[in-house]
């Protein structure tokens, strides 16, 4: 075997591929061959590094050089300078957003310092389309250990002891779930992986499947052994083509090695995995709806109990866990429940992956121990708020969660703490908002999503949320009255109490939490017809300050509706009835004479 001096890891996650990382990988390979370095340097197309903000990413090892925003054209320079002459290409290195300092060694990046990667351990590290690389990282050892050395009860008690809780949102103890499915006797049981990730802005499950598909397959087999099932099903949305492709490759490779199929590890245990495709409906992330969708029925939830562990897919006992939950399982078996339960807080063990989005400098995918504070996540890992603006709120838990403010920044993040302050963990979406974001509009945005995604089966959700949305719309247009706010509150509690499934029950959460934390902002919209953040279009007013206006006519010429009038060298005026609030005049004015009120 040739001695590799260097490994070039090129990010092959969906985000970086959208910016042509596959042609970067190709052109790097080509340049390496042109320079006759193919025996010394290996190019590996990996899963997501998590640092999506600055993609595409190319990482050079062993010196831990971290190149950001690489283009295919840059590959020649990387090969000629870095690989041949040992000089880092300075202009592509990551720059710290705070100090503007160039970081030569990725170990020193604030983004990675606080992270512990368990579920993401192999993402951005191995080639996900090569089972050998997974095995080299202790892959399938957990399955082997379980089959050869542990009883079904041992496995379940190990998972129970680890304190692993479902990462899909509910936070239900995984070991307990396995135990229920184990105890319900049946001729056939099923292991289901919920890969129907639906929260806006969340992409951790996709990244795990794209970057480390074998981890999920291995864990499903372990679960199959524990509960006594020989059939695994992954319910994945068809909108994740890359994840599907890599899963299929992984399943084929595992079958070839005999790690899936019959008589695994020469025992009597058989297990195989199949894929089931979803059409991308949010409600199908709810386990009963997911099961109906897999059976070919409408993706509508049904009342629990019976829980899937009793009567799930085709009426048989079924264990449903989320991708991230499964991805943690092999590590727990390999390193022991004790190791895992040392990480995290008292009631939430281990780590959690978050998709950090919105107005932060380092948008991306991160994994931190439970109990890390929001401040650490947003300001240290996230690198603070963009453009030096002020932090206003962070939305966690997607459309079912709530907004947290400055005063919650030092709250250690775990399942129970987030619920205590009026939000929830959800699947781990985290959207950061700054002073320019209007909280009423934020609530409206999430409600628009729920209205769109409601399956329509029960009326509180189908009709109630629609009415909620309309009320919010009236508020943002300045047409609401004070008593509407009370109506809004009442309706929220009725919808939460009477909806059939989690989708409807939690749909009012964004409204309730923004009302609780930003009551003044609601009042300003209703009482003064004013949007304090200056983002609600209908409430904006463009005006010309007479002292600053020199009568240059620039704004009048730019105005698309002829709303601005005035003689040359005279003060201009805006006709509010004609104005469509496009903002063209503000950009046209060189004298700061047009302001937004």
């Amino acid at each position: 075997m040739a001695k590799n001096k260097m490994h070039l890891l090129v990010c092959g996650g969906t985000g970086c591929r959208a910016s042509a990382s596959d042609s970067i990988s190709e052109s790097l390979k080509q340049k390496i061959e042109e320079n006759n370095l193919q025996d010394e340097v290996q190019v590996i197309f990996t899963g997501c590094f998590g640092f999506c903000e600055q993609g595409p990413i190319v990482k050079v090892l062993p010196d831990n050089t971290f190149y950001t925003q690489v283009k295919p054209e840059d590959s020649e320079e990387i090969v000629k300078e870095h690989l041949i002459k040992g000089r880092q290409v300075e202009r592509l290195l990551y720059k710290d957003p705070d100090q503007g300092e160039i970081i030569h060694d990725s170990k020193k990046m604030g983004f990675y310092k606080k992270q512990i990667r368990i579920a993401l351990r192999n993402c951005g590290f191995i080639d996900p389309e090569n089972i050998d690389e997974y095995i080299a990282r202790d892959g399938y050892f957990a399955l082997g250990t379980v089959l050869k050395e542990m009883s079904q009860e041992d496995v379940i008690s190990e998972i129970k002891e680890s304190g692993l809780r479902g990462r899909g949102g509910g936070g239900f103890p995984a070991g307990l779930k396995w135990d229920f499915a184990y105890k319900n006797e049946s001729d056939q049981k099923y292991v289901v992986c919920n890969a129907d990730e639906g929260d806006p802005g969340a992409f951790m499950d996709r990244s795990i499947l794209e970057g480390d598909p074998h981890a999920v397959l291995e864990a499903m087999a372990i679960c199959g052994y524990a509960i006594g099932s020989d059939k695994g099903l992954i319910y994945i949305r068809a909108e994740y083509p890359l994840a599907i492709k890599r899963l299929k490759i992984a399943i084929d490779q595992a079958r070839e090695y005999g790690l899936l199929g019959e008589k695994i590890f020469d025992t009597d245990f058989n297990f195989d995995v199949q894929l089931r495709y979803g059409a991308g409906a949010f409600v199908c992330g709810e386990e009963t709806a997911l099961i109906h969708s897999m059976e070919g029925d409408r993706g509508e939830p049904t009342f629990k109990p019976p829980f899937p562990a009793e009567s799930g897919y085709l009426g048989k006992p079924t264990n449903v866990n989320n991708v991230e939950t499964y991805a943690s399982v092999p590590v727990i078996i390999n390193k022991g429940a004790g190791w895992f339960s040392k990480i995290g807080t008292e009631k939430s063990k281990g780590t959690k992956v978050f998709a950090l989005a919105g107005k932060v400098n380092n948008v991306g995918l991160i994994e931190v121990p439970m109990g890390t504070t929001l401040r650490e996540v947003i300001f240290e890992i996230g690198g603070g708020i963009k453009d030096g603006k002020k932090f206003k709120a962070v939305q966690t838990g997607g459309p079912s969660g709530g907004c947290l403010t400055e005063e919650h920044l030092d709250t250690p993040i775990d399942f129970d703490n987030l619920i205590a302050v009026g939000s929830m963990m959800g699947s781990g979406g985290m959207i950061v908002m700054d002073e320019d974001d209007c909280m009423v509009s934020v609530a409206k945005f999430f409600l628009e999503f729920t209205v769109e995604e409601s399956c329509g089966k029960c009326s509180p959700c189908r009709i109630g949320n629609k009415r909620l949305y309309e009320l919010l719309e009236r508020i943002t247009q300045g047409k609401a009255e004070k008593k509407d706010l009370q109506r809004l509150k009442n309706m929220c509690s009725v919808i939460a109490d009477t909806s059939l499934c989690g989708l409807g029950q939690t749909a009012p959460s964004p409204v309730l939490s923004t009302m609780q934390n930003f009551w003044d902002e609601y009042m300003a919209h209703v009482e003064d017809q004013r949007c304090p953040a200056g983002s609600c279009k209908e409430l904006m007013r463009y005006e010309i300050i007479p002292e600053n206006c020199v009568g240059c006519t620039a704004c009048a010429r730019k105005c698309p509706v002829g709303a601005i009038t005035g003689e040359r060298k005279q003060v201009h005026e805006i006709d509010q009835d004609k104005c469509i609030k496009c903002g063209a005049c503000v950009q046209a004015c060189k004298f700061d004479a047009v302001i937004v009120k």
């Binding site: 001695k3 062993p62 010196d63 002459k85 191995i126 095995i135 990282r137 202790d138 005999g258 590890f265």
Partner: protein, 132 residues
């Protein structure tokens, strides 16, 4: 392809494959391993740094020493090329000059394995910004 039938099969397979990701795993925690930087600027390469680097990687692996070998830019000792910097875990780095494959062999056997200095140590003539 051969099926994996037992934990031993899997272990054997892993050991064969381990080398593929060794370099990456060590790069994750370089401070735990012997770190060697080889000066690979034009003058270094001209005096044979490339051969020395290849030799180091090869020899360290054969002698089962876990190390991270990286190439660096010009270290400034143009009179003593090729130069290499060796850092044993938890110790200060030491720079050796005039390193050919024979010298490299000596460095591995005496300094890296046993911590005894060999001839050819260059005085450190700079401070790095990390120390400031």
């Amino acid at each position: 392809m051969a099926k994996i039938k037992s934990l031993e099969d899997l272990k054997k397979k892993k050991d064969d494959l381990q080398k593929k990701v060794d370099l990456r795993e060590r790069a994750d925690n370089p401070e735990n391993y012997v770190q060697i930087k080889v000066g690979m600027a034009t003058s270094g390469i001209a005096s044979g740094a490339k051969e020395v680097m290849d030799f180091l990687i090869d020899a360290l692996e054969k002698r089962n020493i876990e190390a991270v070998v990286t190439q660096a830019g010009d270290m400034g000792y143009s009179y003593a090329e090729p130069t290499i910097e060796v850092k044993r875990p938890g110790e200060e780095p030491v720079v050796f000059g005039y390193v050919d494959t024979k010298k490299a062999d000596e460095i591995i056997e005496q300094y890296i394995k046993r911590g005894e200095l060999v001839d050819g140590v260059l005085p450190q003539n700079y401070r790095t910004i990390d120390e400031e």
